[in-house]
Amino acid sequence: MKFIGIKLSSLSHKYIVALAGAFLMMFLVVHLSTNLLMLTGDRADFDKAVEFLLTNPFIKVMEYVLFAGFIIHILLGVIVWFRNRKARPVGYLVAQSSGTSPFSKFMMHTGIIIFLFLLMHFYHFFFVKIGLVPLPPNALSESDFYSMSVYLFQQPAVSIAYIVSFIFLSFHLFHGFQSAFQTFGLHHSKYSPWVRIAGAIYAIAIGIGFSVIPIYFLFFY
């Protein structure tokens, strides 16, 4: 199967999707740890981190890598999904009652929700930063993400939309984390159950961690 003119085998697709996914999972950890600084009680902690992220040249480069990661992960994911539909032109009458876990079965669906969330998230922050969207009334500058968060998450609808999206993100990660290990051949009857547990912990931690922010601004700020 060709991708931008290069013949890629099914396994190469997998490696690339998994590699991009693994990178995105690491990014989520960085993103979450920065976000959690909002909860220290002193917004200067968070602002300092933002300042660092916006000025550090390495991070600037990584930003492009991040965008590339998103695009590749999404694009290849969609290509594979369509190819897989084609592999079974006539479906079964009785839905599968087999061992496919719901997390892996709905990767495309959770993926679409995450993608839509991403657009919303960009609208709320990234597009504000680059000036495409006007500043919310309380923000001091294009990079005053703290004020933007306060403004956004005090609206219950926005908070709920974020939290729901995080639940789907958790679902996506639930499969994604251990799946990346499998794709790179890191499977062992002794250790793989632990990888699964680690994946579950990671997925839940990411979901809860990100959800804490809107909850904080909605109820406790």
């Binding site: 997998k14 084609k86 009458l93 009652s97 499998q182 499977h187």
Partner: protein, 248 residues
């Protein structure tokens, strides 16, 4: 017991098929699933109708010929069981049983419930063998293989080529089938010599035949009548990555 069967009927590859309903009375719980179909066919023939075509041969779970998608699962409701080993005592009086063929672009339907699985042969022809001529073998005990490794290779080698992995997979992927063979040979010293070329050729062939891509759903392992582990898929992922990146 009395049962209702909803069976896929299709005259040949070209003509579109449809489901037909049959009510079958006097089914014994002692019958195997295929004997129940024999009984249905006897009834159909005696009534001047066309019997249902389905594949079967050894009827003891080893040849891999049988393979029906029964009530949403390849080989029916029991794990580690082929269709021919399934018995009617697993069903209740009055049940409706839906019987479908394997559904995959790579397995075209020949007639009714019979599908063409020659794609599996093609993958093996692409590289599923060890290059050794008759007469060239060394004394068997000159190759020492640890018991653990030999047993593991055996666990991969038990594949019966029935295609349940493809049928079960939401992507119609043949990864478990291919991986089992790749892993068996890669583990054994006899096959290790050409492991790199083998995995590249077999994956290439698998891709060309129209199977879907693996997305690690593990439905294949769950429905494999021989319980082959997805661990071998991981091993193939490893072998392929190595062959592609480091050995070309």
């Amino acid at each position: 017991m009395d049962i209702t069967l909803k069976i896929w009927r299709q005259k040949n590859t070209a003509i579109k098929g449809k489901f037909e309903n049959y009510t079958l009375k006097g089914v014994s719980p002692e019958m195997s699933f295929l004997e129940m179909l024999d009984y249905l066919n006897k009834t159909l023939i005696e009534a001047g109708k066309e019997p249902v075509v389905f594949e079967h041969d050894c009827r003891e779970g080893i040849c891999g010929a049988c393979g029906l998608y029964i009530n949403g699962r390849p080989h029916g409701p029991l794990t580690h069981t082929t269709t021919c080993e399934l018995h009617m005592r697993e069903f209740k009086d009055g049940d409706t049983i839906v019987v479908e063929p394997w559904r995959s672009k790579a397995f075209p339907i020949i007639k009714d419930l019979s599908v063409d699985r020659s794609a599996f042969d093609k993958i093996l022809i692409a590289g599923g063998f060890i290059n050794i001529d008759t007469g060239a073998a060394a004394e068997a005990n000159s190759i020492l293989i640890s018991k653990t490794l030999a047993d593991k290779a055996f666990d991969a080698a038990v594949c019966i080529g029935c295609g349940a992995c493809v049928a079960a997979c939401q992507n119609s992927s043949a990864m478990l089938f291919v991986a089992a063979k790749v892993a068996q040979y890669a583990m054994l010293p006899q096959g290790k010599v050409e492991a790199n070329e083998r995995v590249l050729k077999m994956v290439d062939s698998m891709d060309d035949l129209g199977f879907g891509f693996c997305s690690n759903t593990y439905a294949c392992e769950f429905d494999c009548p021989k319980g082959i582990s997805v661990e071998f898929i991981a091993q193939m992922n490893r072998e392929f990555l190595w062959a592609k990146t480091c050995k070309k």
